[in-house]
Amino acid sequence: MSTGWLIGSAVIAVIVAPLIGGLLRGIDRKLTAHMQGRIGPPIMQPFYDVIKLFGKERCVAGKAQLVFGYAYLTLIVTAVVFFALRQDLLVVLFILFLGCIFLAIGALSVKSPYSQLGGHRELLQFLAYEPILLLAVVPIALKLQSFRIATIFESGQPLLPHLWLSFIALLIVLAIVMRKSPFDISSSEHAHQELVRGLVTEYAGPYLALIEIAHWYEMVLLLSILGLFWVVGSLWWLSIIIALGSWFIILIVDNISARLTWSWMLRFTWVAGISLIGSNILFINLGWM
């Protein structure tokens, strides 16, 4: 594939990803509302919210927080660009991690106890899902002998039949990144939680909007990684179905469970995630998958 085409797709990705992300958030809210027997907000509501936030007064608790907020957005966008350029999957993930750490540091740079606790919990959350995300790449590399996304496109055969265990582990990660029950620990989706959206309590106005947009990027990036599991072959459109399907499963789980505590989350994600991926790696090495 030509370089020009790749760069073009990267530009398109940067523009389209937040649109998809916002749209998915809108549909998410609508579907959740319907599951609860409500009408719910209009599908475009997330965009209205962000536009309204941009129109608000610029108010910031500390300059450092601002820098970290921007760093978060920039790094996430960079990760998306690298993904679109079909670069090394490890590079994409590590840039993503760095971005998330900046978000937590941004929260920790403010003195508000809510923000502090939120930042602390975000780090714990990070501790819970990043190892799984990182480990999930290993079976892919084992299968294809390369960490490059381009290789997945070139391989010519879908990954899901071999790597469905890792895929399930990634679903847990998706739930955490989307901040859904039972994992909405650091900043609950609705502020009805002891920390009042701890992580972003101290962000307001346009800066909150930036964080929101970065979340959209993050979600789309993660869904794309899930989509990689069936990106080739004649049924390439299955990749979109898989990504949206897993997104829908997370919505369902969100609606049928209560929020749990961080200690439980840490235990669950580590035990479930690592054993799933570990057995996947084992099975690949044994030649069963």
């Binding site: 027997g37 106890p113 029950s181 009042v196 049928i256 469970s257 209560a258 505590t261």
Partner: protein, 359 residues
């Protein structure tokens, strides 16, 4: 370990009423708690001294937005005792009906808030959807959804005729059906709910007695105290057994309230079916003189009114002891040692009604 003081309230999304809990945290563990009340004092006791004693019903009714009928009932019971008025039997049964309706709606509201504090939004919506059915019955029978304003000194203002009683019965059965099919199984079985509530906020029986806990808070710890046993209104005729759980944790208090919802439905149907024909209101001629004490069981526990009249149109003194006021000290026992994430659940488990507390 890092020690932080988190101001939980006075404005907090989990506790939509103004009470402040200064939580002392060590990392995520609560080591100290300091409840601060007094943010919405409204001087209702004083207002009741200045107003006509008949008008006070409507003022007392507005002490609390959730158990308003029972406040009115308690006031009327006391005022009737002072003016030596005999309430007609039909009115007494109607009072039982409405106060149980009030209790049902209060418990459902609380169960919904509990689900919300656990981040279980769909259950919250489902419970409030069921509560809507109760509010419809309230609107149908009393004319308003929450503040029914049906109880006045001497009886009740509205009657429930046979046709309406049939309709109410039908709606109550539909409500029970909804509870059975969608809400009760989740409350009783869902592992995520149990994980959040079982063993959290322990209150032993001795502590409950010593700290003067009332209502479901004490009944969740195995203290079988229910003021309805004294048989005010028509409770003696209707008859009932208090709901008691012994575990003493947040889950036990949840179960007490959930079981009481079922009990309320039964009591309402019983009251409607046992209701005798006759008057619903008698004329009140006298003026309050002397003293009286009236106690009722509010959804949150025992409610005490003390009256003192001097034969004029106004009361000399009205003293109100609300259940949440008696239950707040238990928080000091329940909260220390729990995780920060459990604070909303434990705090809610006493069903704090701050508007009541402050009066």
């Amino acid at each position: 370990m890092a020690r932080t003081v988190i101001p939980f309230g006075p404005q907090h999304p989990v506790l939509p009423e103004p009470i402040q809990l200064k939580l002392e945290l060590e990392d995520e563990t609560v080591v100290g708690v300091m409840p601060i009340i007094g943010y919405i004092h409204r001087g209702i006791e004083k207002a009741a001294e200045l107003n006509d004693f008949r008008q006070n019903v409507f003022i007392c009714e507005r002490i609390c937005g959730i158990c308003s009928f029972i406040h009115a009932l308690t006031y009327c019971e006391g005022a009737e005792a002072m003016t030596s008025v005999e309430v007609p039997p039909r009115a007494r049964f109607l009072r039982v009906f409405w106060s149980e309706l009030s209790r049902t709606h209060s418990h459902l509201l609380w169960l919904g808030l509990l689900a919300d504090s656990m981040g279980f939004e769909s259950l919250f919506m489902q419970i409030w959807r069921a509560r809507e059915m109760i509010l419809d019955i309230s609107e149908m029978t009393a004319g308003h959804r929450i503040i029914q304003s049906t109880c006045i000194i001497g009886g009740v203002r509205r009657d429930i005729d046979k046709e309406m009683a049939k309709e109410v019965d039908k709606r109550l059965l539909a409500f029970k059906e909804m509870l059975d099919s969608t809400i009760a199984p989740v409350l009783l079985r869902d592992p995520t709910i149990k994980r959040r509530a079982v063993g959290k906020g322990m209150l032993s029986k001795e502590q409950a007695e010593l700290l003067g806990a009332v209502g479901p808070t004490s009944r969740g710890s195995g203290v079988a105290i229910d003021i309805r046993q004294t048989g005010y209104a028509a409770y003696k005729e209707v008859g009932f057994e208090p709901v008691v759980e012994t575990a003493g944790d947040s889950y036990a208090r949840t179960l007490v309230r959930a079981r009481e919802v079922y009990q309320c439905v039964e009591l309402m149907r019983k009251a409607l079916s046992m209701m005798p024909e006759g008057e619903i209101l008698v004329r009140v001629d006298g003026y309050p003189e002397g003293e009286a004490m009236s106690r009722t069981e509010q959804p949150r526990g025992e409610l005490i009114y003390y009256f003192r009249g001097n034969g004029t149109n106004n009361l000399e003194r009205l003293k109100i002891r609300t259940p949440t006021f008696a239950n707040i000290p238990t928080l000091l026992v329940m909260l220390p040692g729990c995780e920060m994430a459990d604070v909303p659940v434990i705090t809610l488990s006493i069903d704090p009604c701050i508007a009541c507390t402050e009066r």
